[in-house]
């Protein structure tokens, strides 16, 4: 059995910042990620960041990922385990089961755990929604921006939030035709900067539209066409408004939900909060859940965005280290700073939904 002071599960922006903050206070950290590289979702994001955190706004996500990963890898107090998936947490003895490179099983006993596993993509119900060619927006982004393979020739994007808009733009950059972006809501959910970028390239953004059905090519069995239709202000489809689009890819971008399995296993008290994407753990201001010593940070604590994930990570890292008695003298100041930054990020109309969600959570 391997021992460590703080185990951080997930090496996205939240987990990276948590590791750095805890190490800075003096704690020893083991950072575990199932990928072969650190960075989480940041690695695929070729656009300039819409984050409001002063240090990182207008840097590309991919570069923020590189900067933070490099800092983590050279920090002597942080041990990084890659290609390592946490597959179980045994609350009785506080042990994590980790599968390393799909071959060996390692048990780790940490004193504190920070869960920063991120979120996974939601799905949308419609006829034949399981056809090959219907992919999550993040999947398309991974295929295209990480592995350099385009998903197809003609794409229907479902969801006009920031992710739908950004991935549409990235598809066009890679030479793929985006036939339309549709959204069942009457308004475009994403920021105007992103919407106008794709609109300028001639992509129609059709609000109050949803997918009715998808159809396969008889020979290949893969997607060939999509039928969309309009919805009224009560989200009911309007017969007679159907339109047929010849597309070989439907990209689904209708939100994310927290990857919270480990928190369920740990016995954390969970609550369904739609504003935060699904089931999330109750927690206090220090990001500690109802199970003492188990902390959360980032999308798994409530789907938000990368800047807040980073600050939540820092907060969880600071507090976990402090609870083990580590403080380099700056703990109070750093903690206060992080709390203030979170508050300012979530202030104003953009943070309204998140504030409503969080109000239901604090234990």
């Amino acid at each position: 059995m391997k021992k460590t002071e703080i185990a951080v599960i997930g090496g996205g922006p939240a987990g990276l910042m948590a590791s750095l903050a805890a190490a800075e206070m003096g704690a020893r950290v083991t950072l575990i990620d199932r990928n072969s590289r650190l960075g989480g979702q940041l690695v695929k994001q070729t656009h300039m960041f819409f984050g409001s955190e002063k240090e990182y706004a207008s840097i590309r996500g991919i570069d923020i990922g590189k900067i933070l990963s490099a800092e983590v890898l050279k920090n002597p107090r942080i041990e990084t385990m890659l290609d390592s998936t946490v597959i179980g947490y045994y609350p009785d003895d506080g042990v994590l089961g980790v599968e390393v490179e799909e071959k060996t099983f390692v048990k780790i006993k940490p004193e504190k755990v920070i869960v920063a596993t991120g979120a996974s993509e939601k799905f949308l119900p419609f006829e034949n929604n399981d056809l090959p060619g219907i992919y999550g927006a993040g999947a398309v982004q991974t295929l295209m921006n990480e592995h350099g393979v385009i998903p197809g020739d003609n794409v229907l994007m479902v969801g006009a939030g920031n992710i739908g808009l950004i991935v549409s733009y990235q598809l066009m950059q890679a030479g793929v035709n985006v036939k339309a972006i549709i959204d069942a809501a009457p308004n475009i959910g994403g920021y105007w900067v992103h919407a106008s970028k794709v609109a300028r390239l001639g992509v129609p953004i059709m609000t109050s539209y949803t997918v009715k059905a998808a159809y396969a090519n008889e020979l290949t069995g893969a997607l060939e066409r999509a039928v969309i239709w309009q919805v009224d202000n009560k989200w009911q489809p309007i017969p007679g408004t159907e339109k047929v689009l010849k597309v070989d890819v439907i990209c689904i971008s209708v939100g994310l939900s927290p990857l919270a399995e480990i928190l369920w296993q740990a016995g954390c008290k969970m609550k369904y909060v739609p504003q935060l994407g699904g089931h999330v753990a109750l927690r206090n201001e220090n990001m500690e859940t109802t199970v003492p010593g188990v902390y959360v940070a980032g999308d798994v604590a409530g789907v938000e965005e990368a800047s807040s994930a980073m600050i939540e990570g820092r907060l969880a890292g600071l507090n976990a280290a402090k609870s083990l008695g580590y403080d380099n003298g700056t703990f109070n100041e750093k903690r206060r700073e992080a709390l203030e930054q979170l508050e300012s990020l979530r202030s104003g109309p953009v943070g309204e939904k998140i504030r409503q969600g969080l109000a239901q959570l604090v234990s």
Binding site: P132, G133, Y135, Q173
Partner: protein, 101 residues
């Protein structure tokens, strides 16, 4: 299809290797996910579901959803969206839930 020129990104690819898909010879780059190599070769149907035998492709591409299970080197239920491509791999369409030998 591969992206050859990209305004922002450059791709570091492994060496070119050969593998087979249902007996057909194909080429891909070592270390990339099997699913990426298959997709580049025009393969989108990866398996058929257990009960209704419906065609399945990948969905999340990061190992979360199990939509991409295939038989690799005789072993069923391999998530090909995260499993790395190696020289000489034998990749097969999976039908149903697969048997462990």
């Amino acid at each position: 299809m591969r992206i050859v020129k990209h305004p922002i990104l450059s791709f570091e690819r492994g060496r070119e290797v050969e593998f087979t898909f249902d007996g057909r010879k194909m080429k891909g780059y070592e270390g990339e996910p099997i699913a990426a190599a298959l997709h580049d070769n025009g393969v989108r149907v990866l398996s058929y579901s257990k009960h209704l035998h419906r065609a399945r492709g990948f969905y999340c591409a990061i190992g979360n959803c199990s939509s991409c299970l295939m038989t690799v080197n005789g072993e069923p239920n391999v998530r090909v969206c995260t499993e790395k491509l190696r020289e000489g791999m034998v990749v097969e369409t999976q039908k149903g839930r697969g048997d462990i030998k």
